[in-house]
Symmetry: none
DNA sequence: TATGAATGAGGTTTCATTCAT
DNA sequence: AATGAATGAAACCTCATTCAT
C-alpha cells in the first residue's frame, strides 16, 4: 500500500506526505513532552497538516505513537539480532547489545525510552502491538545471559532477570537527559563504562575476597551441568 | 447535606478532614494511573469530599501531587541520611542505600518512582519544589561513591555518575511491577542481588584477567558452530 | 492504482460505473440506518468507488438521496396511477392502492417510508424536489376518497383527509419491521386486513346501531365488577 | 436526589436549574429538528447554560433525550392507565385511549411522536430504557382490543395487532404537522373522526352486505366462546 | 471518468477550575 | 470548612467536501 514502485518520481516519493510529516512531528514533540500532554492540535500544527489526517492515517493519536514505535523499534531489534548472531561468547554479545542499545537510545531517545525501558509502566497503553516487540527485546537479552551462565561465562548465583534489570536500568539512567550528556560524553564510552561496572563490579580486585558473604546472598555453585 | 449530624462531636473529630483525605485519595490513585490521567473529579470522589477542596488546600492539582511527594520524600531522605551517617565504609553505606531505597520503592512505589528515578523526565512539571529533593538524593548517592573512590574502596577508572546511574537504574528495573514481584521475591533479597551484581560484577572470578580486549563492534566471522 | 489493467475491455464494460454503484450502496445502507447517520465515506466504501464521485454525479450527499427517491418513487407512482385508472369504483381503487403501497413498502421499504409516510416530517431536508412527488401521491389518494364520497360509496360524515391519514398511517404501522413480518404474514394479507378494518370498521355488524352515544371523557363510575 | 423538601424556598425550587433549562431547551428544539441534527452547542445556547452541564446531568446528549421522554411518557402512560381503569367496555376504552393519545400528541408532540409511534424505527437508539415504556403502551392497547374480541365487542376475524397498528398509525398521521392542524381542527374532533372510521368503517351501512368477500379475507366466525 | 490526498468546520465530550452560599 | 452548581477552554475526533492529477 505504501512504498509504491516509483510511479511519479524516480525516488520513493508517492507515500502520502501527510503521514510522514505527522510522524516526524510526533517524534519531535515526544522529545519534549510526554505522550499524554501532546495534543492532536499541536501535532497537526507542528506537521503543518490538518488534524484529521491523524485519524485518516493512524486511526487515532495512539495509533500514531504505535506506528512510530513499531517502525523505529523493529528496525532496531532486527539490526540488533543480526549483529549479535555474528558474534560469539555471551559476554561479547552483551557488550554489543549494550553498545547498540545506548547508541539507539541516543539517536532515537524517545522511542528507546518507551521501547527498551518503560516496558512495564504505561499500564494503560501498552497491552498492544508494541508490547510484544518490547518483550522480544527483553527476552532476547535474558536468553543471552542465560547462555552465558550455562557456558560458565557468567556467574549463576544471581537471578538472570536481575542481571538483565541492572543492564537495562543502567542503560536508561546513563542515557537519560541529564548532566552526563550535557558534558558530551560519547555513547560508546558510556556503554563501556556500563559494561565495565556490570562485568567486573565496582569493587577493586585487590579487595576481592574480603567482605563477601552477606546473609541472603546465594554463594557457591559456579558451574552448572558438570 | 451529606450526613452533617454532629459537626463537632468529640467522636467524629478524629475523622481526617479534607486535606488529608485528598492526599490519601491521590496516593491511592497514583498507584494505578499516571498523574495526567487522574482527574480532579476522581480524586474528590475517591476522597469523598468536594472537588473544590483541592483548590482550597493545595492551590491546584499539581499542588496536591507536590505536597504528597515532599511529605513522603523528605521523610525518606531524612531517614536515609541519618541511617547512612551511622555507618562506615562506602560499600556498606551503598548497600544500605540500595536496601532502604528498594524498601521504600516497594512501600511507596508511586513516589519512589517519581522521586528516585523519574528524576530527569517529567521535565514539564518538575522544575520546581520537588526537584530539589530529588537532586539532593542523587547528589547524596554520588557523594558516597566518590568517597569510596577516594578511600580506594571503589574502582576509580569509571565515572562516578555512571556507577550511580547503574545503581539507580538497577533499582528501578528490579522493583518495577513485573515478573520478579509476582514471584514474591522479597525486597531485601532483590536488593542483595543488585548489590552483588554491581559490587562484584557478573563475570566469575576465575575468568578475571582474561578477555579484557574490547573488540571493535564488528569483529569476527559470521559463522557460528561450524 | 487499483487493478487498472484493461480499462476498456469489452468484458469489463458491463460493470456498473460510479453513479449506479453509489445509488445501490446508498439504498443498501438506508435499509439499516437513517440518512443522517450514513457517511459519505461509508457510501463510497460500500460502492467500492471514490468518495469524490458522489459530488461529481449528485452534487452532494442529499443529491444522491433525492436521485434515489425520485427514481424509485416516480416509477411507483406512475405504475400506481396507471393501475388505478384501469379500475372502477372508489373502494376497489382504494383497495388496490393499499395493496400496491404495501407491496412497494415491503420491496423498497426505505423509500416507501420516506415517500409515502414521512411526508410531513423531515421538514429540514424535504422542502424540495422529492416533496412534490409525495404530495402528488397524497393528493391522489385524497382524490379517490373524495370521489367515493361524491358517489355515495364512502361515508361523508368524516373528513376526507382523516380517512387518508388512517389509511397511510395504517400502512406504515402494519409494514414497519415488527412482530407481523417476523411472523411472515404476506404483504397481500396484511393489506386485506387493513382494508377490512378501514372499510367495515372493527365493530361487528350485529352491534351496529347500539352505543352511538359519545360519553364525555369521564362519565360513569369508578367501580368495576362490583 | 432531585425534589428536595423545600430547603431554601417554600416551593420545590432547589432542583439544579441547569438541568431543567436543558430539558426545556431540548424540548423546544425537538419541535423543529430531529434529534441527530440538534447539536449540544445549540442546546446549551438555547438553554442559556454551559454545554458541559449536559454531561454532568444527563451523561450525554442521548441521556438528555431519554430523561425527557421518560418524564413525559411515564406521566402520560400512568394517567392513561388510570383513566382507562375507571371505564368499562373495550370500545369505550379504546375511544378514551385514542382521545387521550391525540391530546397528548398535540400537547407534547415531540415525545408522542417518538414514544407512541416511532416505536420500531430509530433502530440504534431504542434498545433502552424508553423502549420498555413504549412497548408497555403498545401492549396495553393490544390487551384492550383482545378483551374486546373476547367479549364479542370487536370483530375477531382480523388480527388484533393489525387493529392496533391502524389505530396508532391513524393517530400519528392525523396528528402530524400538516394541513389539518393548520386548519385548527380540535384534538377531540380529530379523535372522534378517527374512532368513527375505525369503529364503523368507511363504507356506509346501506351498502353493507354488498361487495364483501374478497379472496384472502377471512370471513365468518363472529362469536367466540359460544 | 476516477482517484488519493487533504481540509475546514464543527461535533461531542472532558476537565481543571471558580464562586456563591 | 465545605459544597453544589456552573463554566471556559480545549481535547479528541468525524464528516462532508474540494482539488490536483
Amino acid at each position: 500500500m505504501k512504498a509504491t514502485r516509483g510511479q511519479k518520481k524516480p525516488r520513493e516519493m508517492s507515500v502520502p506526505e501527510g503521514g510522514v510529516r505527522l510522524k516526524k512531528a510526533m517524534k519531535t514533540l515526544l522529545r519534549k513532552s510526554d505522550f499524554s500532554s501532546i495534543t492532536t492540535a499541536r501535532i497537526a500544527k507542528t506537521a503543518g497538516v490538518n488534524e484529521a489526517l491523524i485519524y485518516r492515517y493512524f486511526g487515532d493519536k495512539r495509533g500514531l505513537l504505535h506506528a512510530l514505535l513499531m517502525e523505529s523499534g523493529s528496525i532496531f531489534l532486527a539490526g540488533l539480532e543480526e549483529a549479535v548472531e555474528g558474534m560469539e561468547g555471551a559476554l561479547d554479545r552483551l557488550r554489543l547489545i549494550v553498545k547498540l542499545s545506548v547508541r539507539y537510545y541516543i539517536k532515537d531517545r524517545v522511542f528507546a525510552r518507551i521501547l527498551l525501558l518503560e516496558v512495564r509502566n504505561y499500564n494503560d497503553y501498552f497491552e498492544s502491538e508494541t508490547y510484544e516487540l518490547v518483550r522480544e527485546y527483553s527476552r532476547f537479552v535474558s536468553k543471552i545471559i542465560q547462555e552465558g551462565m550455562d557456558a560458565g561465562e557468567i556467574r549463576d548465583d544471581v537471578s538472570c532477570n536481575h542481571i538483565r534489570d541492572v543492564l537495562l536500568g543502567g542503560i536508561e539512567h546513563v542515557c537519560l537527559p541529564g548532566p552526563i550528556f550535557k558534558r558530551k560524553i560519547s555513547a560508546d564510552s558510556a556503554a563501556e563504562d556500563l559494561i565495565g561496572i556490570v562485568f567486573d563490579g565496582i569493587v577493586p580486585r585487590k579487595l576481592k575476597g574480603r567482605r563477601r558473604q552477606r546473609p541472603g546472598l546465594r554463594t557457591s555453585g559456579k558451574e552448572r551441568n558438570p
